[in-house]
Symmetry: C2
Subunit: 251 residues, 2 copies
């Protein structure tokens, strides 16, 4: 297999051809939910041929990635492997490729708007709470729960009611929203947050529609998923744990 | 004109048709750079028919928007006006519509990757520095400058050198990157940051290529742009100022 360098983006003139007709995918992300789970769910749901891989020594690997961060997606076709980087473009590509992006431009834009709102909530949680200075983390978490999270729940509930409270159809937006809820349930006070989500029945229905879909429920029952969930639960207490500790490469 | 409700998304069956063949645009955002400037630059560069509008009383207007936040873009065609929400989907739509999204799927994905890296830097700055608890803001700003900003500069410089240090061609990624640099130059220590950017000549060339392009230089010389710049400079000291103070609607 002709491997592209990971640090630099490919200049292969056939890159778009590889993207349009891939044989298989290889995701590289840490062994937690956070920015990897929506790709994993789409790949699992679509029945794609894919591998879930984790860095064994992130500090050594970090400077070999385009922006010193993960996720990265490797797209394989014949004897070639193309690398793309950054969570939202990867999710947008997979959603388009695997059929989670709606039927027309307006639907795509609506899906990406909901996706953006849910992704932003998660990145605000990361920057303002999880990775904040230790002396203000709990204060920020309380503010986040009372203000930003509550507002997000109210707004999404309203739009889902507008859409007939039907648990939506499975799109990138639904999977991202379900993943974000799943991540919050892994946090301290996760049980209380779960009740808050359940009190918005249209929102909770999206969560249940995604996570109880037979293909995604099946993937949620496997050991590798449970390990991701377990690691995600440890993140609040020690956000650097999954970076600092060398871990076994899964694939 | 048949105005759609702003709070709820439209169910107009012709929404995609309006998006594909717009007559004009109306942007709604605060009177600062932050999440409005990339749209403004694309619209100015493309010579589109557009209006730049600001809320006069944001606290009253807030709950009439889909996610209680701005920007929102109104897309006008004939007697109809369609609303779309969230910064990245709006920028992606305008980039596609106005020709800033590359020639093929791989170029689009690369452009959106650079865009994502630059947007994330800005949102991290917002959540981790500007909107953080007062007692840790300066400490966080120092960490941000030494670590995250420096890493972003190094990585982008490398990719721009890969691309021939040509100041790139004008795409969504270039405009977003130039805007992010422009915003950092408005911060405390902005002069020092400017020198840091200048020391990465391929990156600085992108900034100069965008901001000195005749169409964008022209827009930068007008009074309304200068007011945006002035307000952006006040944000670090008092991030809530542009929300709290009622302001005159520009259009």
């Amino acid at each position: 297999m002709s491997l592209v360098q990971t640090l630099h983006f490919s200049k292969d003139a056939n890159a778009s051809e590889i993207m349009a007709h891939p044989d298989s995918f290889r995701l590289r992300y840490f062994q937690i939910f956070t920015l990897g789970q929506t790709c994993r769910d789409m790949l699992a749901f679509a029945g794609a041929k894919w591998e879930d891989t984790y860095p064994s020594d992130w500090m050594a690997e970090k400077t070999t990635t385009p922006f010193e961060c993960l996720p990265i997606l490797y797209i394989r076709k014949d004897n070639k492997e193309l690398m793309i980087s950054e969570c939202t473009p990867i999710e947008h590509y997979l959603a388009r490729q695997l059929g989670f992006l709606g039927k027309n431009q307006y639907e795509e834009t609506l899906i990406m708007s909901f996706h953006s709102s849910s992704s932003s909530l998660l990145s605000t949680f990361g920057n303002f709470v999880v990775w904040n200075q230790p002396e203000v983390r709990d204060k920020c978490y309380n503010y986040f729960k009372q203000s930003l999270l509550t507002r997000w729940i109210t707004n999404h509930e309203m739009h889902l009611v507008d859409n007939g409270s039907n648990g939506h159809y499975i799109t990138l937006a639904d999977i991202k929203t379900a993943n974000v809820i799943e991540i919050f349930i892994c946090q301290p006070d996760g049980n209380e947050l779960a009740i808050q989500f359940q009190n918005s029945p249209a929102l909770w229905k999206v969560y249940e529609t995604v996570t109880k879909h037979p293909l995604l429920a099946d993937w949620r029952s496997c050991e590798s998923f449970k390990k991701l969930e377990q690691n995600t639960k440890l993140c609040y207490k020690d956000p650097r744990a999954y970076v600092r500790r060398p871990r076994v490469v899964a694939n």
